[in-house]
Structure formats: structure tokens, C-alpha cells
Symmetry: C2
Subunit: 269 residues, 2 copies
């Protein structure tokens, strides 16, 4: 299995504080050492960094840290391979063009017996179940709408195709087109929104501390979505199985959920 990290905000934000804890789970505080990737939206474009080395000691991850890229939407993934070899083509996040936009997708889980896509318009390149599922989703969306529909039509269509794919196994994912971020929880996904009044946060993985008052200004909203909480003194919301959230500019715009369960500091790794 793998771990996911997403960030959606209303002001360009540096993800380094969260990523530095997250990447330790790739070999130091967790065993997700089979490569990593991180994608930063910049306007309609994406900068993506991948490595098949563990994120905790990858020079590419060091480069990401040094460059301190600010972005409104970021998706990162550390891999513990279940299907497919450890190589670049099997490294999340995956990208496809949909309706003239970059869509970025990362998955945690395991899907079996997916439909054959060898003659599809969108075909997987690597051998993971995750990329195949994303291609199936892309093909479905492009066939259902020739041009980009409204956001809520997109959210609804993603729920429909997700239910079909989730019948094949465990399907936690984070997805973004650079404007919004959608998360679906099958087993484990948590989120929180940082906004005024800002406080301090301590990282779970290495006790790193930050006071967001030193970086954020009134009105800033930064949502972090991740498999397991990254800080020990903030209140993370655990998503329910089968739940969906739709974030835009750091705000939760829509949600499909059974019963929301608040957890603080569950710290499970």
C-alpha cells in the first residue's frame, strides 16, 4: 500500500513543512520506500518530480525542498508496491490531459481484474492497477462529455465511475485539475483546513515544529489531505468509507459522506 498527500489552497503555498514529515515515511518512519512523486500545479501547467529511490533519501526530493515551489494544488505519493515493478512508469502521481487540462491522480489501495484497455484511446503506460484505473476514468469522462462540463457535473461523474472501479478493490485517491481537488476514501484518508486564527503544529514523524502565524496571513486557507495525519496537535477529520470531498481554494465545496468522524491525533502509521 502507499500513502497520499494533497494540498489545495487559495494562495500559493509551499508544501515543504508537510512534505518533510510525509517523506520520512518512505524508509524512516514507514516502509513506503518504492519510489515517490510530487506534482505541483503552476497555472495550467504541472511540474512533476519522480524518483524510484525512497523519498526520504532522494536527491530529487532534496531539490524539491530547496526550490520551495509555491502552488495552489499539489499531489504527492510515496509507494509501497503491490502491483507493478519499482520503476518510473509505475510511480504516482499519474497525469493525463482531460478537456485541455492536466489532471493529476494518486491512488492508495489495490484493484483487481480491471477491464482490458489495450484498444482504448487512453491506455496505461506502466503496469499498475492505479494508472489503469485512472485511464479508465479518463476515457469514461471524455466519452461522457466532449467538452468540460460544470464542476458539479464533474464531481457527479467521478462518483459514478469511482463506484464502478471501487467494486474491484480498495480505491482511496486524490485527484486535481489545478482548480479543485477531489478525494475519495475507501479505507484511510484524513484532512484539515488551516485558516485564521493560525497556531503552531508539531510533525508526528520527526517533531518538526512550525508556527503558521510566521507564514500565513488573514484570509489564507490551506487544506491538507493525507492518508494518516501528519501533525499531532491539529484536529484532522477522518473520511468515512465511500466518502467524497470536493475542495476548491482551500474550502470544502461539496461532500458525499455517511457519518463524519472527527479524530484528533490518532497518529496511526
Amino acid at each position: 500500500m502507499c500513502q497520499l498527500l494533497g494540498m489545495n489552497c487559495n494562495t500559493p503555498t509551499d508544501i515543504v513543512f508537510s512534505f518533510e514529515g510525509f517523506r520520512r515515511r518512505a524508509g524512516l518512519t514507514g516502509r513506503h520506500s518504492d519510489g515517490f512523486g510530487i506534482a505541483f500545479f503552476e497555472g495550467r501547467g504541472v511540474r512533476i518530480f519522480r524518483d524510484n529511490r525512497p523519498a526520504s533519501d532522494s536527491p530529487i526530493a532534496d531539490c524539491v525542498k530547496q526550490y520551495q515551489i509555491k502552488s495552489l494544488n499539489v499531489i504527492a505519493h510515496i509507494r509501497k508496491a503491490t502491483q507493478g515493478e519499482v520503476n518510473i512508469e509505475n510511480t504516482h502521481p499519474f497525469i493525463r490531459e482531460i478537456w485541455g487540462e492536466n489532471w493529476v491522480f494518486a491512488h492508495n489501495g489495490n484493484l483487481k481484474d480491471l477491464p482490458d484497455m489495450s484498444e482504448s484511446f487512453c491506455q496505461p503506460i506502466g503496469s499498475t492497477d492505479s494508472e489503469a484505473a485512472f485511464c479508465y476514468m479518463a476515457e469514461y469522462l471524455k466519452n461522457r462529455f466532449r467538452k468540460k462540463p460544470t464542476e458539479m457535473q464533474i464531481f457527479e461523474a467521478i462518483q459514478d465511475i469511482t463506484k464502478e472501479l471501487a467494486a474491484h478493490g480498495t480505491f482511496n485517491f486524490i485527484l486535481s485539475n489545478g482548480e479543485w481537488m477531489i478525494a475519495h476514501c475507501a479505507t484511510n484518508l484524513h484532512y484539515l483546513t488551516r485558516k485564521a486564527p493560525f497556531g503552531k503544529a508539531h510533525r508526528i514523524d520527526d517533531d518538526g515544529v512550525i508556527d503558521f502565524n510566521d507564514y500565513a496571513k488573514n484570509g489564507d486557507k490551506v487544506t491538507i489531505i493525507t492518508t494518516f495525519p501528519l501533525t499531532k496537535d491539529e484536529s484532522w477529520t477522518k473520511m468515512e468509507n465511500g466518502g467524497f470531498v470536493f475542495f476548491k481554494e482551500g474550502d470544502k465545496v461539496a461532500e458525499i459522506i455517511g457519518v463524519a468522524k472527527e479524530t484528533a491525533d490518532d497518529g496511526t502509521l
Copy 2:
């Protein structure tokens, strides 16, 4: 206009010697300062680095230099914007999935009045003529063949679609699927193949010197394709207008050409 650099080899090779001269043309020895990108195939996967800062002083380009990635196929591009703003989504090389492979494309030239693609399956994300042309090519190829055809069928299909696109303006490009590299010359493209007996080479842009005997072994074949020659003491072949070359494992496998013209050290910048 822009400049292109491609490398196709039979052994994983580090492109740093060529890229260090090439990137100087982004602000120091040339005016191609509107961003850069470089894509390295690694198996079926691609590592891609892009920046909207000039390649000559980009920290991302420094990271590429330090990491010394070895690859069989590399495509790089330094941009002098003609159409589209200076931003990440307009930065070459562009990538699309075709028949379950990553295809990487970089263009030098200017195309006008391309067909509307707003309801196509493959749509451009940025606002360049280059990405639109590549999407048009991708859509054409996927419609002509549902599954990957033979290499020579691909080469023939690319000639057909290129002739259609070249009617819209200047269309020099380099294209690779990670197995082969195809170049098309409209105005300026040069190539050479380095193989035994190896010698020394002096870079045009900064007088950097290398002795390939220190790095290469008998049997190695490394082809470099670029807009204008990068070294002053090697024999570069200038492609003819309308010409195509197909390289695989460092060898020229096929060529469509009028009259080949050998030039040594023309050094035009």
C-alpha cells in the same frame, strides 16, 4: 524561435556535456530565455524537468546537471516564445500517451491557423502552436491505428501527418517514444553519431572540452540531434528541408531526404 536537442543511444548515456553547452544559449550565447524543459526516458517512464526561468541560470537545470541521469533517449528545448505566454504549460517538451507509451515532442518554428481541437479527444493544455500540432498528430495516429503498428508504419504515418501540419508554417521537431527518435527538418536541424574510434570535442558555447575515450566503450553509439551544432571539431550533418530521420539505438535506421549536405563547424548561432 527555439532550439532543440535530442539524444538517442544504445547505452544509457549522460547528456550533461551537450546540455551544458546548449543551456548557455538560453541567455548567454543566445536569446532563447523563455523557459526550458528536458525529458529523460527511463524504461517506459519519463522524468521531465521544466522551468520558466532561462536554462542558463535555472536551479532546476542545476539539479539536472548534478543528478547526471543516464538515459537512452533525451529531448530538451530552450524557448524563445513566438506564440503563447512564458509559463510552464507552454514549455516544451510536451508529453502524451500514445498506444500505452509516453511520446515526447519538442518543436522549433511557427505554425498558423491550425484546425480547431476544442472537441478532440487529445486537446492542447497551453496556448502554443507546438502543443496543438502535437495533439493533432496524436489524435491522427490513434485514429489511424487502434494498437501500436510496426515502426515503419509509424514512421510513414508521421511523415503523412507532418506534411499536413508543415503546410501551416515552419515545423522542425524531434519526437521519441523511448525506443526510437524521429527528427523532421524544415529549416535547421543537425546531427552526428559518436562511436569508436572516439576523440575529443570542444563545445562552441564555452570552450568546454571532453575526451569521449574517458567515458565511452567500444560498441557505444550516441546520436545527438540539435538545431545548430554544439561542438566545433566534429562533423555534423545538416538535414535538408523536408527531411526525416529515424534513429534507434544510436543508429540511423531510415531516412527520407533530398540531398544530404555535410557541414563541419558551421557554428551558426
